[in-house]
Symmetry: D2
Subunit: 400 residues, 4 copies
């Protein structure tokens, strides 16, 4: 292998060098007297990333899947009815987990390519006069299909119905990348993981929790220990953890949170929107390719799932990109296998990195038999990037 | 701060440079076609570290606490009776977890300083003719007191009683450091974590599982998803994981496993025994200090818990070591707080590193009012190390 | 800044991760008893990279410029006549150094875009019956213009003239990247630096020296201490250095040399040829752009110097690439300033990395006013890379 | 090998983790438009480390030996008379270089264990009415013997004689560690290297130069190119270098300079004095051992050269420390070989690190036959460190 491997999967994402440096450290005592200051400030700053004023953010040594489970087992009881929708592999898996954990899942099946069915949710919530529904689940960004849903609208639906259900959001591939307003949207449980917008290795599951959810956790009866909110609160309040935390990744998290808050979350979101649009321009330019996302309102700014042209096996595209072009693309999951490849465009990226990824996809598509024009996608992306560069990126001399 | 911080806690332990280098990497695709080879070989080699021929080793992105929970929720049912013993903070916490997860804990209280009460266990197992006891739990190495228990003897007790209970072992601070023979001792579930003998950052919970335990997991009814053996088996069998694994630490684990298997596990154990003896020599030399471990049969080769002389607050020792001597010592936990400090002597250490740690403890003890002789502990340790150096460490010229 | 900076200058080049890891180390004693083994093997293996059977390779803590000076001061005397040629900034600087060090430089001025004038050299050597010319200097690869010269032909000219002059070669941007046969070509002094084909940070000057050159050094009278061959030989023969070597970079050099020798030097050269051709395809596709290299026989496989279209200031291209696209391109040096930018394509690179660099150049060219077609260069490069991928890069499944 | 190698040689020294992290980077363009800001600020801050208000500091990619040569070749002419003194391997080597470079060396031979003979120098300067002596050379800290000389006194001798000679100082193992006042002492050329007090890998030669020395360089006639002040000044004035600088180490230097200036140079010197005293206390406690430094006025705060007891071969001590105790000690150089070992106590160290080094030396001494008391040296050092800890190191709680 020569040169580096190119990574365009929707997580793990590229780790910025300052974060990589911050994790290149000797181990430390997680019970040291001054470790608590570090933890207290970090947990506090995470609330700013989540745009949370009240409530808390928990950081578990786990994956996003573990944070899904933590959200459920701490706040719900076996047999509780929850409203969920399925429109991709990850919303499907979350519903599956809810079922396995003993919840009564009221499931809205949605065409893959669309997202949370707000009208259906609204109707069901209006109809649920005795508040049998204890929680409403939304996959904010369905990583398998590149579809972003409207969480603010779900909150409005809850409010208009005067419904007290908890609002669960899977923000694994949205938080720290695209607009997420936990406080304003009244989200009660918001799941994320370190290896996406946080630009870190996998290993941390993050969970934003509202005061209402914490209140609910006090009476919830599902068994849990490792993921117990109560244990975590008791220790976090003193600046420590109930068991050994993954300090190496926490030190990296400190730097990635600083990078984001220094830039401002709005700037982080704007950057992702600009990069995503470049990828979509490329897809438009590729004859026979199209997004899985059914309409612009569903377009995700963190990942694009792309149908290959008829007769072109997406698995060939992915395999060729990997072996021939040292480029990791995301695969089509579940029923999209063979028909779809994905380009992750979240985290520590810039336009030229995406031109590389688009070039790799383009070569692999052609190798796999797609009749696309060489360079067509890169050209379209380039023109987008040229015309949208933020003023702040100009050379000092030019700007003067 | 000048120079490096000295780390003598019983985990996280010092990370060897080859392991640190192996974790200084860009991220990678955990679904890449060749990632499965890496995983398959790694999981296989972990069995050699566990000395397991049948069964499996699972690697969860979690802590040792999470692995405790995985062991329980996959193989037992709410209401099951389990035999446990408490003789330190970690055996206490595991019993607490078992209780919270709905098990019926039959608890043997043991004086702190001793370990698993094999005779009591044997008697109870003999008496349990209808096999009400579903599992026997042993904390192999109680990290809080520096006490190692005799797991082989517990196995014999089970066998002599003809008892079918599962044998659970907490090997968090023993596996990969001191003798552990999972296959020979008939251990069914053996918990460990990355940040101890494996010489890695925290973040991985490792769990050795016998075929019998896997069989038990097929009918066990406690809810679990994140920690599900079934999901893990299904994916591990193909060389992948059911959710994003902590690839960075796995790459480090590859190197630490290679280091151990290249040396041979017997050599790893012998090294720990030698280092531990050096620390114990120092403790003997310190007037008024003594080990918490009640007798040599209980001495742990990975951690020593040390009573300070009467009138000397161990918290002062620890705080002075930390702030004045840049040295992290372990604290006295629970009822040992203030009376005990701990020296971790596991992982990537050598005699001169321990001389440093003993020196720091010695200075801090004197600062805290202990009337020990300056240099007395180091002198005793030095003489031990001088006389026990393995032949292989001799200079080529000298050896010839 | 987001994502990484893209580096396409002709040195320093991208450092492969295994090399980066190898330099992430604590310091070591350069007089340690086993350090000599490391040095001896490394110096020996460097001869394989240089394709040298006799002679030696020296490694000085210096830059390529220092190695130029070492070559001169060790083997020549003030007032010696040397034959040199100038056709770019680096051949110009070397001639300038020779002059400043008191040599009598017989200079062939060559049009920039061409290289060593073999016929002129041959004629002068034939005419120099009394062997007044003590040394012939050749810049193998002129980094400023992207021109490679024919060293084997210069050797033939020397041989045909029966001329005993020493053959000096500046191989800073050729050795370890493009064909270089020190033994076969009868090169006496061959200069290189760590930050080019060796894929390391700057800091080491490497110098291949023939037995004939070493012999010459025994009677040469220019003062030198730091760069003294005699001192270096005396210490290197024992496996050490006369002063503190840059051990960190030497540890990286060990890995980069292993990478090259494991692949085989022919494979290294072939890789560079393929990558270079991709860049040239892009330049051909850019309307109004052209290579400085005057004809295919002069094309360099490590760097391309590219004229911008009329009216387009190359400094704008470079500045825009840097500030707007986080991409470092090489600048036009000396009289090429403003008219030329350069793309370095040596070291640890792969096709997709070059697609990124070509994309950046393309965007910057258009921003600077060039009327090139968007994506045209990338398209041409892609098609080249698609059609030339080595079989060994194919997916196992496909290859079967 | 287990645990880390212990490094107590007088350079390379231990690299602090923040410096190590800063060197764990991708390569960069040393001609980038914003690189000049970095260089300008760095060179300026280096003057603060040198305590230089006028003049300049040059940073060459070289070793300290190269910086010695740069100092000479830029400011003196062949045949110039210089006043030097020899009292150890490094002052000897510098005198040898001066001789080889064609200077007329007027040499004062001094007993090894003492330093610059100020009275002799004063007498010679007074006698030199026609100012035949062009330069006075002083090895500030003789690394081979652990002897520090009084540079301020030499300056006074020059001033009292009204002598215009340039004052050359070898500060390789003093600058950035012990008091050095370049401006106040009127030093004209002050040599250092990256791998000592600067706590970096080897690879940079630093050279502080007074305005008077720069003036001298304008008319000096020795040939030099690589080390040319004129070239360096021309480029440094624009924020760049005349050839590729060792950017990786420069990035580390930025951090080490920040660490020193943030603490204050007085604090750096005080720290070294305290650490050195601890080592000397240990040597006093070792029966039969003694310092090479002849009297307290000569004691070096960066390195101690220690005579082993009669009959104990220092080479055995060093070899045993290395192979049996993974500890690198400095060897006895030249006529001290076999009689002396050295402990470097400069750079990134703290008391507990020195307790480790002293322990290793103690064990190796006993193994080699020395009849010292086990632990005696560590005990003495401990008591010194206990009683001298700066108030700022106290725990917040204690300090309150």
């Amino acid at each position: 292998m020569h040169g580096f491997q190119h990574l365009y999967i929707p997580g793990p994402t590229n780790v910025p060098d300052p974060v990589r440096q911050a994790m290149n450290i000797p181990m430390e005592d997680m019970r040291a007297p001054d470790f608590s200051d570090f933890v207290t400030r970090l947990l506090d700053d995470l609330k700013s990333v989540y745009r949370l004023k009240s409530g808390r953010v928990f950081v578990f040594p786990t994956s996003g899947t573990g944070a899904w489970e933590a959200a459920i087992t701490n706040t719900l009881n076996a047999g509780d009815t929850v409203l969920m929708s399925r429109f991709g592999q990850f919303s499907l898996l979350w519903a599956d987990m809810a079922d396995r954990l003993g919840l009564n899942v009221e499931l809205c099946e949605v065409e893959w390519g669309k997202g949370v069915p707000v009208e259906d949710y609204a109707a069901k919530l209006q109809a649920d006069k005795d508040h049998r529904i204890r929680a409403v689940f939304c996959t904010h960004n369905e990583t398998a299909t590149g579809v972003t849903s409207d969480i603010a609208a779900v909150r409005r639906a809850l409010d208009e119905a005067g419904h007290p259900a908890l609002l669960f959001v899977d923000g694994v591939s949205s938080i720290a990348s695209i607009e997420f307003e936990m406080e304003d949207w009244g989200v009660d449980l918001a799941v994320s993981g370190s290896q996406k917008g946080f630009m870190l290795p996998a290993g941390l599951g993050l969970l934003g929790v509202s005061d209402k959810a914490i209140e609910a956790s006090r009476s919830a009866t599902m068994p849990r220990c490792y993921f117990s909110f109560a244990d975590m609160i008791a220790f976090n309040d003193t600046g420590y953890f109930p068991y050994t935390p993954a300090t190496q990744v926490l030190r990296g998290l400190r730097v990635s949170v600083d990078m984001m808050l220094d830039a401002g979350m709005e700037s982080v979101w704007a950057r992702h929107a600009r990069l995503a649009q470049g990828v979509r321009r490329a897809v438009e330019a590729w004859q026979g390719c199209s997004l899985v996302a059914a309409a612009p309102e569903w377009y995700s700014d963190t990942v694009s799932a792309i149908y290959t042209p008829d007769g072109v096996d997406a698995r060939d595209v992915i395999s060729t990109a990997y072996y021939k072009y040292q480029t990791s693309l995301g695969s089509g999951l579940n029923k999209l296998a063979g028909r779809v490849f994905r380009i992750g465009h979240l985290g520590s990226l810039n336009p030229v990195m995406l031109c590389a990824g688009i070039s790799a996809a383009e070569m692999a598509l052609r190798d796999a038999g797609a009749a696309i024009e060489p360079g067509s996608g890169v050209a379209a992306a380039q023109e987008h990037f040229r015309s949208t560069t933020p003023d702040t990126a100009l050379a000092p001399a030019k700007a003067a």
